[in-house]
Symmetry: C2
Subunit: 213 residues, 2 copies
């Protein structure tokens, strides 16, 4: 398998953590977003949407969208499951993951921040305020949900790291780009620290990639 990705991309971090948790080996192909590598004809042939990550599997199929890839890995490599066994638990974990994947990340990625700057004149402070607003809005709700549920354990759902955790871990790393600490969200902070102590997560973190700067 070849992972087409970028060290700082938070969706890439999610996927690296999932691959590592499942103990799956992959080749690492880096696409420096700053240099527009994800808009090159070579990359667009892999994913017309021009977004990392893409997982190239053995038969040459290219799968885009980090959560689609992780669900695929869950189905073909069910050992070390990232979702619990019961449907209601699975729904809880997916909902936690989508809170981050659908409500924070899309609003805060590079293309949106650039557009905000080009069209609405957002400077560095304006970009930071935008980024922080969407993190805060969802992290406040996520904290309430996690802190108020008996199903929350060492990690987001019980004592086994899974799909919600890879999203949380990647988002907290992403927040650090704008200096957002986790202090206001004690449960999120506790879970992040527990995850960061696990080798599959630490190995997936942005600073530990071949293309890190």
């Amino acid at each position: 398998m070849i992972l087409h990705n970028y060290f700082r991309s938070s969706t890439s971090t999610r996927l690296r953590a999932a691959l590592n948790l499942k103990g799956l080996d992959y080749d690492y192909a880096a696409y420096p977003l700053k240099e527009g590598a994800h808009k090159s004809p070579e990359f667009l042939a892999r994913n017309p949407a021009g977004l990392v990550p893409v997982l190239e599997i053995e038969d040459g199929t290219h799968i885009p969208q980090s959560l689609a890839i992780i669900e695929y890995l869950e189905e073909v490599h069910p050992e070390t499951p990232l979702l619990p066994a019961d449907p209601v638990g699975r729904a809880r974990v997916r909902a936690l993951a989508y809170m981050i994947a659908c409500e924070i990340h899309p609003l805060n990625n590079l293309r949106v921040l650039k557009h905000l700057s080009a069209e609405f004149g957002a400077d560095a402070e304006g970009q930071k305020a935008w980024f922080t607003k969407w993190v805060r809005e969802t992290f406040d709700a996520l904290e309430t949900t996690l802190a108020g549920s008996a199903e929350t354990g060492i990690y987001c759902h019980g004592d086994t790291p899974g799909l919600a955790d890879v999203c949380l871990y990647a988002q907290v790393w992403n927040n650090q780009r704008f200096g957002i600490a986790t202090g206001d969200w004690p449960t999120i902070a506790r879970i992040f620290n527990a995850l960061d102590a696990l080798e599959p997560f630490a190995k997936a973190a942005p600073p530990n990639q071949p293309d890190s700067e």
Copy 2:
């Protein structure tokens, strides 16, 4: 089951289409977003994130996030599947769904348009330009992906409507709020028209809900 939702919410439309496709009955509870009903204490107790839809299932559990709900329904009501049987096909359908759910919808919902107006002074034209930009960016890629794949059939994946179709259908309806026609995307237009001719989809459309205005 009780569907806590709003007629015009595109994530609610997705879920209604999925419920209808599976032939599942539900009670309809409406939350007029314009009046802030999704921020009421009563609704926040159902979903601290203050977002529709939420599905309340028989045991009283409230499941948020439309795609988490649809995956749950797929697991507990596997008849009339919304995902194909093979893992690579499932990954393709999920990736198409997430292109819409993660790359268009989060950028264009009401809270974002309001914030853009409050913080960056976007007027009606500015909001429309923002909305259109993110639709166009992803619909261009979606059109390329759908038109270029032998796996695309009458619908997004073969000749059975599924998860990608409920997302596409809801997004095209949502686009109409800003007068975006599907003319530039012939494959998307063809699939939308095929879906709109199916009763489970037409029944899920915004104008056909009890709270429609």
